[in-house]
């Protein structure tokens, strides 16, 4: 498989503090690649930097998409190349209906499924939801499902899903995972950001992010085991004692 997304030595600083400290990552075309890590380790920052959001401009390193350097490209330019992001906490829009939002996504994409189908796939009956407004009256879980439906409608080359499992009831996690698999079968490469190891297991490969660096990339089971054994109890958010981890001495403790 060819590399679709390549991140080289990426450094992103926020408010004078380095959140990503030299991330190297390669995501193969057609895979579901999980980024696994505890809260506060830089997972969302990585997602936002790849999407090109304001405030997440790298101070070092580069991002390549299908071989093209996109480090300086705008969010819109990246979206037009086929990259999109589903936010962990999606935005609310006053006066914009679910139908309009999904139609915007579908128009920008690669002939995705009909919007009614997309809503159905994420467990929201189209009749009840298409004409609802994307405002605070939708619950957080409903809003996240709409976000996934928008990605389905767009049918992008690369979907960055930032914690699609958060705010979703435990019983529905399998359904959400099935939606992600379906997205992947339809030709979308998925960068799946999560701190939930059982969710990461559904990916083809995974990378473990800690302290703003990728500590390990490989088969899911192997990375999950690494995360579980070495880093789950890590308290060194953003300041890992990498040497200790690399030498296999276990999670550095403070």
């Amino acid at each position: 498989m060819a590399t679709l997304l390549q991140v080289d030595d990426l450094v992103v600083e926020r408010e004078g503090r380095a959140i990503l400290r030299g991330v190297d990552l390669a995501v193969e075309e057609g895979e579901i690649h999980a980024i696994l890590g505890a809260n506060g380790t830089g997972k969302s920052t990585l997602a936002h930097a790849i999407m090109g959001l304001s405030g997440y401009k790298p101070s070092q390193g580069r991002i390549l998409f299908a071989g093209e350097d996109i480090t300086e490209k705008s969010v819109t330019e990246r979206a037009k190349l086929g990259i999109t992001l589903a936010w962990q906490q999606p935005a609310s829009f006053e006066g914009l209906t679910v139908r309009e939002y999904l139609e915007i996504a579908r128009r920008a994409g690669r002939d995705g499924p009909r919007i009614e189908e997309c809503l159905g796939l994420v467990g929201l009956p189209p009749r009840s939801y298409l004409d609802r407004t994307l405002n605070d009256r939708l619950s957080g879980g409903e809003r996240k499902r709409v976000e996934l439906a928008a990605v389905l409608a767009m049918n992008p080359r690369l979907a960055i899903l930032d914690e699609p499992d958060s705010g979703i009831d435990v019983l529905s996690l399998d359904d959400i995972m099935e939606v992600i698999r379906r997205m992947n079968r339809a030709g979308t490469t998925v960068l799946l950001i999560t701190h939930r190891e059982e969710f990461a297991r559904a990916a083809h490969r995974a990378s473990h992010l800690c302290g703003g660096r990728i500590l390990k990339t490989g088969e899911c089971a192997e990375v999950v085991r690494f995360y579980k054994n070495f880093c789950k109890e890590c308290t060194h958010i953003n300041e890992p004692e990498l040497e200790a981890v690399e030498e296999g001495k276990g999670a550095p403790q403070r």
């Binding site: 999407m51 959001l53 304001s54 969010v75 609310s92 006053e94 006066g95 309009e100 996504a105 920008a108």
Partner: protein
């Protein structure tokens, strides 16, 4: 005085209907005998159609009209009553003095289309006294259509009294073209269990000046009210919003909600909530947000392929919808 069913000044009528059509309205409603309507150009009544249970007495003034609208008790008017006001020339004055009486248990809604497509020096003055009877419901939507010159002074003033268990729902919308000056001033008095919802949506451009004051006087127990304002300002436009609520009746509730979006560095906005609780069992709340469009909203739409300009347009359109 024009009687129901009469129509004159065909040319002006057609011109106003054309403006209405151009901005997405339904001019056919003005000619439908089953839909009540009143069409006024400056001080000339061009069309008037009442329905059983709905009386509209209209008297021309030198600079406008005086209208008395009555919906008899228990009468339900199924379709919105269309009120079409406007000044077509570049200059002129239109003063609308009106009283609305919605009888006990009656239900009626009104859509006022106010068109000033060529205004360079136009005054549009409205003074309304509204009485919504016990258990009655009145809806009043006022939609403005302005040309590009910003040459209108729009000065709507209304005093509304809603009797026990009555409902008054109003929306003021000025989002097309440039107004010049808007000074809206509404006072709503709510008796026991009465409900009012006041929504205003305004897009200020150029050198527009916008002043909105909406006040809820919750006089009866369990009276409830919402004042919601959405204002978008670009260029050098300025706006001041004052949302007032007075909680006099026990267990009365009101919420003031204002969002003002600034597009550009020269626009100015302020929001002033004024809440007064007289009975300690009343509860009044407010929220206001002033600033540029939320970056996350824009970037969400951009991540779906819209350009930044398209994303701004989409957010503004939604807010003012």
């Amino acid at each position: 005085m024009l009687r129901s069913g009469e129509r004159n000044h065909a040319q002006e009528f057609a011109a106003l209907a054309k403006v209405l059509e151009r901005v997405g309205g339904n001019p056919a409603a003005l000619r439908n005998p089953r839909v009540a309507s009143l069409v006024v150009h400056q001080n000339r009544v061009l069309g008037l159609n009442s329905l059983p249970g709905l009386e509209m007495d209209v008297e021309p003034l030198t600079d406008g009209i005086r209208a008395h609208v009555t919906v008899k008790p228990g009468v339900v008017i199924p379709d919105p009553v269309h009120l079409c006001f406007g000044v077509l020339p570049k200059e002129g004055v239109q003063r609308i003095l009106s009283t609305f009486e919605i009888g006990e248990g009656a239900r009626a809604s009104f859509i006022a289309h106010c068109s000033f497509p060529n205004a360079e020096r136009v005054q549009h003055l409205m003074e309304a006294t509204v009485t919504v009877g016990e258990g009655a419901t009145m809806g009043y939507t006022e939609v403005h259509y302005h040309g590009p010159f910003g040459g209108t002074e729009v000065l709507p003033k209304a005093t509304i009294r809603v009797a026990k268990g009555g409902r008054y729902l109003t929306e003021f919308r000025l989002t097309q073209g440039r107004v010049g000056l808007l000074a809206l001033d509404y006072d709503v008095h709510l008796e026991e269990g009465a409900v009012a919802e006041l929504v205003s949506k305004v897009y200020g451009k150029g050198a527009d000046r916008i002043a909105i004051r909406e006040a809820l006087h919750l006089e009866g127990a369990y009276a409830r009210g919402l004042v919601k304002s959405r204002i978008v300002l670009k260029d050098q436009a300025q706006a001041e919003f004052i949302g007032e609520a007075v909680g006099i009746g026990p267990y009365s509730r009101a919420h003031i909600d204002c969002t003002e979006i600034l597009q550009g560095k020269e626009a100015r906005a302020s929001a002033i909530p004024k809440l007064l609780v007289v009975d300690e069992r009343a509860k009044l709340t407010h929220e206001a947000a002033i600033g540029s469009i939320d970056r996350k909203e824009l970037e969400t739409l951009m991540a779906r392929g819209l350009s930044e300009e398209e994303a701004v347009e989409t957010v503004v359109r939604g807010l003012l919808r």
